[in-house]
């Protein structure tokens, strides 16, 4: 028997008004795994990640974290979100705070840890991701790649058990993409559990443990990168891969 999955989705459904966007998704992610969600625009990748982060309440099914249902509507989502980091395509840094304050905000408010205790920890984080010299810069003084890395550091500072990344490289100029993907590789090597929605097929092929192809709100096919990219069994997967590769 495999160990219990870190995260498990059972028949999750989500509609916006009359539009059903997630139509019964089953997915399990194990500790330390890197799972890539691929699929065309509008297939529901972002929505799925937002559901995982409890930003959107799901309509049916359940989401288990370490075996406990975190999607129960009567649970307070706030402490659970602190265990699951989410990084957005558009970074969404707070523009009125510098990089350091952006990172410090959540731990300071949520865990009520004093600045003095936090400062060395956060400085270490910046150091680890080679951003030490950018700590006092404001978002608009940073390049896109640096902003995205600060956004990742910000999510890391809450010491989450899982990180969700939503197309974190699509708003970047091509030459900046690799510096962000390197950070993802580094996180994986440190044992973090990771779920990525991505258009970077090469990265998915190289680094993922599992690739899921999403189409119209359904996981059509999942498997190792080799299975998906070399031998897709579904015609829809094949059509998609042909158009993007």
């Amino acid at each position: 028997m495999r160990p219990q999955p870190k995260i498990e989705l059972n028949d999750v459904r989500k509609s916006f008004g009359d539009l059903e966007v997630i139509k019964g998704v089953n997915l399990s992610v194990h500790r330390g795994e890197l799972v890539c969600l691929i699929g065309s625009s509008g297939s529901g990748k972002s929505t799925l990640l937002r559901c995982l982060n409890l930003l959107e309440p799901i309509d049916e099914g359940e989401i288990l974290l370490d075996g406990y249902d975190i999607s129960h509507p009567m649970l307070d989502p706030q402490p659970i979100r602190q265990r699951i980091g989410l990084v957005f395509q558009s970074f969404n840094l707070f523009p009125h705070m510098n990089a350091f304050e952006n990172v410090m905000l959540a731990p300071r408010l949520n865990k009520k840890i004093s600045r003095a205790v936090l400062t060395p920890k956060i400085e270490a984080l910046f150091e680890r991701f080679e951003l030490k010299d950018r700590m006092t810069h404001y978002p608009d003084q940073l390049s896109g790649g640096q902003q995205q890395r600060v956004a990742i550091v910000r999510a890391m500072a809450m010491e989450p058990e899982i990180m969700l990344f939503d197309e974190i490289t699509s708003a970047l100029d091509p030459e900046l993409v690799s510096e962000v993907l390197d950070v993802v590789r580094q996180l994986k090597s440190e044992g973090m559990t990771l779920v990525l929605a991505t258009h970077e097929m090469n990265f998915a092929r190289d680094a993922a443990d599992k690739v899921c192809f999403l189409d119209k709100g359904v996981i059509v096919e999942e498997g190792t990168p080799d299975q998906i990219f070399q031998n897709p069994s579904e015609p829809r997967t094949r059509a998609f891969l042909r158009s993007v590769l």
């Binding site: 160990p3 219990q4 799901i58 075996g67 406990y68 249902d69 509507p73 009567m74 307070d76």
Partner: protein
């Protein structure tokens, strides 16, 4: 399935306290019902408290008699409504005049040819002065000053000069709104028109203004709602409109209820208008955002 023992965020404890598996749809419906009940209950409580507590104030009887006197309201309301017609009339001729004159001022401020420099100076000074002085002062100064220059009876009519004062004041505000609209049209629209060989005036008339004016409709709505209220200030130089009529009744009856009546009449016009303007602005923001 092996159960994990960490419970950092207290999910186990929390879930133990929760009812077993419930239907999400049922839960949401129930939650909505509960919210509605809480909301109604708390609203009612607050209203009830006000209703019970205020009359306990020692002077309430007197205040009620002075401000919320039903008999006085009934007696004066028809006269107030009559007087409100004057406001409506003044508004009806001022509003289009302001719309036009404001546009002229805005165009003067935008004049680029050096020969028209005095127009630009004029428009700038104009806006500074009329946005800077309280409307009521403008009404006094123009309403009594200009007729004093020795005009015939027909031409010294306070309706004319009061309206003129309003028009002059409000045009300054409206002109600024138009100007903001004109400036908000992207330079590339001007470039496109120029590259087609259109003249400055044709560009303005056919390309810039139609877009700019449409864009500032909501902002202008707010100006005209303010105007609707400030029409009342014309009463200071004679015309017996709503506010003045309320004042007369107040003097004669030594009772402030007519002012409450006036407030009711104003609200019945301005609330729907403000709502409509807000709605327009919200729609515009949605469209842009």
């Amino acid at each position: 399935m092996s159960r994990n023992t960490t419970d950092k965020t207290g999910i186990v404890a929390a879930q133990a306290a929760l009812p077993a598996k419930i239907s999400r749809t049922a839960y949401n419906a129930q939650k909505k019902r509960r919210s509605l009940m809480i909301a109604s209950a708390s609203t009612l409580t607050v209203v009830a408290l006000i209703y019970v507590l205020v009359p306990l104030a020692p002077g309430w009887e007197r205040v009620k008699n002075s401000f919320f006197n039903w008999e006085v309201l009934v007696r004066t309301f028809p006269k107030l409504l009559d007087a409100f017609l004057i406001d409506v009339m003044i508004f009806a001729w001022c509003a289009p005049a302001i719309a036009i004159w404001g546009l002229v001022i805005a165009l003067c401020r935008d004049a680029r040819s050096p020969a028209l420099f005095p127009l630009r100076v004029f428009a700038t000074v104009y806006n500074d002065v009329f946005r800077g002085v309280p409307v009521i002062l403008v009404i006094y100064l123009i309403g009594f000053g200009i007729p004093g220059l020795g005009l015939s009876r027909t031409w010294s009519n306070p309706y004319i000069w009061g309206s003129l004062a309003l028009i002059l004041s409000y045009s300054a505000y409206v002109a600024e709104v138009y100007r903001a609209g004109i400036e908000s049209i992207h330079e590339s629209q001007r470039s496109a028109a120029k590259s087609l060989g259109l003249s400055h005036w044709h560009t303005m008339r056919h390309v810039i203004l139609p877009q700019a004016i449409r864009r500032v409709v909501p902002a202008n709505m707010n100006n005209f709602i303010s105007l609707q209220k400030d029409v009342a200030l014309v009463s200071f130089i004679g015309p017996v409109e709503l506010l003045r009529q309320a004042g007369v009744e107040k003097s004669l009856l030594a009772n402030f209820t007519p002012y409450v009546g006036a407030a009711i009449i104003f609200l019945s016009v301005t609330i729907p208008a403000t709502r409509f303007a807000d709605h327009l602005i919200a729609r515009q923001n949605r469209e842009r955002g």
